[in-house]
């Protein structure tokens, strides 16, 4: 068949020729320009997961607390006592790469819409960020812009940004990662779904106006970044948090009336996506008149209306006859609200423009049976991984109890680690975020392994329950071993929740990967997904949804794509039944005893922060995750917190035991004297990494009860390392030699300057 569009036009919509042939088959005719644009965005990875869908199917999604799983705007879990929590993560990597401030800001706006669309009031935000090397000026500009953008939207909209993580590595140069997770507490009796219902019901367009901003953002997000990407800046939307705030209030008020049948935010692919998904999920059609849409520009073509990603817009299906009441609510908040369409029986999306049908596509053709690519998985791990696995610690220069040779005592190495941007305090960042608005932030950023937010409804007296949330992902480990690295991310997320005393419940994940079209890229994606699936099953934390961001690659000047570290980010939420029984990470009292839980857990320098930042080596293999030990250690930690024995708890993560001890000192403004033992090299004992280990401190008055409890539940897997007190961190080996002795002041200073050396 003769193509109505030339190859370049088809490619410009990021469609392959095969996909174009499939469009012709489904329509039985050539699409017009508007329709081609609709297929281009709806068949992008961002919207239809054509590369990742076969892999996502293996995630466990069911559980007694899961009320809404994948497929809706956000997942919803049951927290008991009538509390229902909506939560979801989303990425805005590509927009942030070309326009960091607005890219990050609209990432926040987008994920918030996913939450309140369900009828939930947003109560917390977290973010997971990755940037290149801070020595590079462009990285500093990107990092400062992204943080300012997140602050701009989150602060103004009045949702506290309570936690997150950030890492710097040259592998993210030019392709930063900006993942934002939002939590919301359901306010409506019924969870608002997105399936359109009721033939003849009016379809309301509400919120902001439509302009040419954000044109084709979804397909832009599904391609590699190149030198030309800056020219795609129109694909980045511009956020208006003030309108976002009004939209939250107006939507929640509208949902409370019970007159709203269905709602969907206009995020990726704007009107195209919202009309077709609402129609498809409801098994009906939608007729939508572009002439009714309030526009902020003149002369827009149907295609521009359809693909605009102007922010702060929603589509509502409202009970017939109630449109005036709903419109009145939005108008009171100073927002647009117009009846722009209706639900029709034919399962098509029919777009009207200037009295003509500008596009008519069966919803099934657009939304269902979208292209899926089953790719061949490498039978053997790729060469880079195999050679990395061949590395062993013996390849490093020799070391002793004194250090890495006479010039580099371990105290100095510890300070170097703490002073690196990856382990240094992130205060420069979280101080720019309003983390206390809404008056429910129980654990402040920086003081604990996870954020804890009180669940409270105005007018309802306490005591209240709380929710804990964390984001975790270590791209370096996933690069070295996607299966173990992804498992480690899930295990660490659960461990972080357990360290504050929360019971891990459910996961939202953001898969940030390179191109799945290369054998290595697909191997990383597929293997990591298998790791997430098995880990979530083992820990009993189902996946309720998430986001996939592929093609995170920059085209170098030589035209060769350079992929980021494969970086799945795990967002996990947990339940806190008693907000009086929580733990931070810092020592609390002089004289308390320090215990390490999980002493038998395997550790390795492979992929460690120590190996990367002290030896500038990317090699090794992270240890396999032992879920039986992981569960036992975490359960014991939570049990000790619930009993009131454990005063502080901190996960041993990047930087190993040495850094975890130092962080507990810095955070608690108290020193400690400890004795550690271990087989193998001292750097491995001090800075080796692996899951399953938690550092706790306990008052001597609870020593008997706590140790009896540990002996019963964690036999052979715990040890008392020493005690809290003094103004130094002193670590002895079992034979009495001093491994580390450094003043609290020096530790704190190194840790405080790690980021502010670069960012002012």
């Amino acid at each position: 068949m003769e193509f109505a569009f030339c190859d370049q036009e088809i490619a410009a919509h990021r469609l392959t020729k095969d996909e174009y042939r499939e469009i012709l088959r489904r329509l039985g005719r050539s699409p017009n320009r508007a329709e081609l644009g609709m297929f281009g965005v709806m068949w992008s990875e961002h919207c239809c997961y054509k590369n990742s869908r076969p892999l996502l199917g293996q995630f466990p999604t069911q559980g007694p607390r899961i009320l809404v799983g994948p497929g809706e705007n956000a997942g919803v879990v049951d927290l008991g006592e009538g509390l229902r929590l909506a939560f979801k993560i989303e990425s805005h990597n590509h927009p942030s790469a070309v326009e960091p401030f607005q890219g990050a800001a609209t990432g926040v706006g987008g994920i918030l819409r996913d939450i309140f669309t369900m009828g939930a009031r947003p109560i917390a935000l977290l973010n997971s960020l990755r940037f290149g090397d801070l020595e590079d000026g462009r990285t500093r500009t990107l990092a400062a812009g992204v943080v300012a953008g997140i602050a701009h939207y989150g602060n103004c909209v009045g949702v506290p940004t309570v936690g997150g993580e950030v890492y710097f590595d040259p592998h993210y140069q030019g392709n930063p990662l900006v993942n934002v997770m939002a939590l919301g507490l359901m306010e409506t009796k019924e969870i608002v779904k997105s399936g359109a219902q009721g033939i003849g019901n009016p379809v309301l367009y509400v919120g902001s106006t439509t302009g040419r901003d954000g044109m084709g953002g979804a397909s832009f997000a599904s391609a590699e970044l190149s030198e030309q990407s800056a020219a795609d800046r129109p694909a980045v939307q511009v956020g208006d948090p003030f309108l976002g705030k009004a939209l939250i209030e107006a939507c929640l008020e509208a949902f409370q009336t019970g007159m709203v049948v269905a709602a969907q935010d206009m995020g990726a692919a704007g009107i195209t996506c919202s009309t077709s998904e609402m129609a498809a999920r409801g098994g009906v059609g939608i007729e939508f008149d572009l002439d009714r849409v309030p526009a902020r520009e003149t002369g827009m073509t149907p295609q521009e209306y359809l693909l605009s990603e102007s922010q702060e817009r929603m589509l509502l299906v409202v009970q017939a006859g109630k449109e005036a009441q709903i419109k009145e609510i939005f108008h009171r908040w100073g927002l647009q609200a117009v009846v722009a369409g209706r639900v029709i029986p034919d399962p098509v999306v029919r777009i009207l423009f200037q009295g003509q049908v500008a596009a008519q596509v069966p919803t099934v053709a657009l939304v269902e049976d979208t292209p899926v690519y089953h790719r061949q998985l490498l039978e053997q791990p790729p060469a880079y991984a195999q050679s990395a696995w061949a590395w062993c610690a013996a390849d490093l220069p020799p070391c002793s109890a004194a250090g890495l040779g006479p010039e580099r005592p371990w105290s100095q190495v510890l300070q170097q680690l703490l002073g690196g941007p990856n382990l240094a305090t992130k205060q420069w960042i979280y101080r720019q975020y309003d983390h206390q608005v809404q008056n429910n932030t129980v654990l402040l950023p920086g003081g604990a392994d996870a954020a804890v937010v009180r669940l409270r409804t105005l007018g309802q007296p306490g005591p209240h329950r709380g929710v804990a949330a964390t984001l975790d992902g270590n791209g370096r480990l996933v690069y070295l071993d996607p299966y173990r690295g992804a498992q480690a991310a899930v295990a660490e997320a659960a461990r972080n929740l357990s360290c504050v005393g929360a019971e891990p419940l459910a996961v939202t994940d953001n898969l940030n990967f390179g191109s799945p079209e290369t054998p290595v890229g697909y191997w990383q994606l597929a293997t990591a997904c298998r790791g997430i699936a098995t880990a979530c099953a083992a820990l009993g934390t189902p996946v309720t949804g998430g986001n996939v961001s592929l093609y995170n690659e920059t085209l170098g000047p030589d035209g060769q794509p350079q992929a980021i570290y494969p970086t799945p980010v795990i967002g996990m939420v947990g339940l806190v039944e008693d907000l009086e029984r929580l733990c931070g990470q810092g020592w609390v009292r002089k004289g308390d005893l320090v215990y390490l839980l999980g002493t038998g857990a395997p550790i390795s320098l492979g992929g460690s922060e120590y190996l990367a930042s002290v030896h500038h080596t990317l090699a090794g293999r992270p240890p396999a995750v032992d879920f039986a030990r992981e569960l036992k250690v975490q359960t014991a930690c939570r049990g000790g917190i619930r009993q009131g024995w454990v005063a502080s708890a901190h996960d041993c993560a990047e930087g190993g035991l040495g850094v975890a001890l130092a962080e507990a000192c810095i955070s608690g403004c108290l020193g400690a004297t400890l004795t550690i033992s271990g087989a193998g090299r001292w750097d491995e004992v001090l800075f080796g990494e692996g899951g399953g280990r938690i550092l706790t401190s306990v008052s001597p008055s609870h020593q008997g009860a706590w140790e009896a409890y540990l002996t019963e539940h964690l036999a052979g897997e715990w040890r008392c390392l020493g005690g809290v007190g003094g103004d130094t961190l002193t670590i002895h080996s079992q034979d009495g030699s001093t491994l580390i002795q450094v003043s609290l002041e020096d530790l704190t200073q190194a840790w405080q300057q790690g980021l502010t050396r670069y960012l002012a």
Binding site: C156, R431, Q432, D434, Q436, N439, L458, E580
Partner: protein, 227 residues
């Protein structure tokens, strides 16, 4: 006591104030929508934190022109108690109920933190639950909280003892200042003492679970003063 809380579309600490006065202190709460001119017979008006109308132009510049502010100004001129917190402080200066202006923080960043404040007076309802010279800790969260006034105004404020709260160190020394405010001014009242504007958030420090109780004492002082 009946507290009126003004709600602009961009207010975002309105519910936090409501939580304190209604849920924690058991007082009457009355929402006042920004288009209203009837304050509903309240004893105290609170203008909460947030971003009134987006504040893209200048914080509080549009809010000053709102119908509700006309009523609030009349209420204040009649001696009514008016408390502006954060954005509310900005609105009060724009509306001319308090002198000076709040400009961009010296280091340009939005800053969310807990800061030490020295209480400068205790002979007004707002501060009667504190002692003069006492150092308290309250949360701040603002991008434009650097207090500025011309030298004459500043001298006048000091002469009349209108500064109620000043940024300070843990020991009360005036050498710590999170935003560059002149004279370390964090909280300021009018000459009559019935209008108070402050950048720190007392409502975020009214509950031991989430931020201490230093701010609750400001509300407690008000209650003790009511007949």
């Amino acid at each position: 006591m009946k507290f009126g809380v003004v709600v602009f579309p961009g207010s975002n600490c309105d519910r936090d104030v409501a939580y304190v006065v209604q849920d924690l202190l058991g007082q009457q709460l009355h929402w006042i929508w920004h288009t209203e001119q009837d304050l509903g017979g309240v004893d105290v008006v609170v203008i909460p934190g947030g971003f009134s109308y987006g504040d893209y132009l200048r914080c509080g510049a549009l809010a000053r022109l709102s119908p509700v502010m006309e009523a609030v100004c009349a209420f204040a001129r009649g001696g009514g108690m008016v408390l502006g917190i954060c954005n509310g402080f900005q609105v009060l200066t724009e509306a001319g109920l308090l002198p000076g202006a709040l400009i961009r923080n010296q280091k340009l960043h939005f800053t969310c933190d807990r800061v030490h404040l020295r209480v400068e007076r205790q002979d007004l309802p707002w501060v009667q639950d504190y002692r003069v010279g006492e150092v308290i800790t309250l949360p701040i969260a603002h991008g434009e909280g650097c207090y500025y006034a011309d030298p004459t105004t500043l001298r006048q404020l000091e002469d009349q003892g209108q500064v109620l709260l000043r940024y300070c160190s843990a020991s009360g020394a005036l050498n710590e200042n999170p935003n560059g405010s002149l004279n370390g001014i964090a909280g300021l009242c009018n000459a009559a003492g019935n209008v108070l504007g402050m950048m720190p958030h007392p409502e975020r420090a009214a509950d031991p679970l989430t931020g201490g109780t230093a701010g609750r004492r400001l509300f407690a002082g008000l209650l003790a003063a009511s007949p």
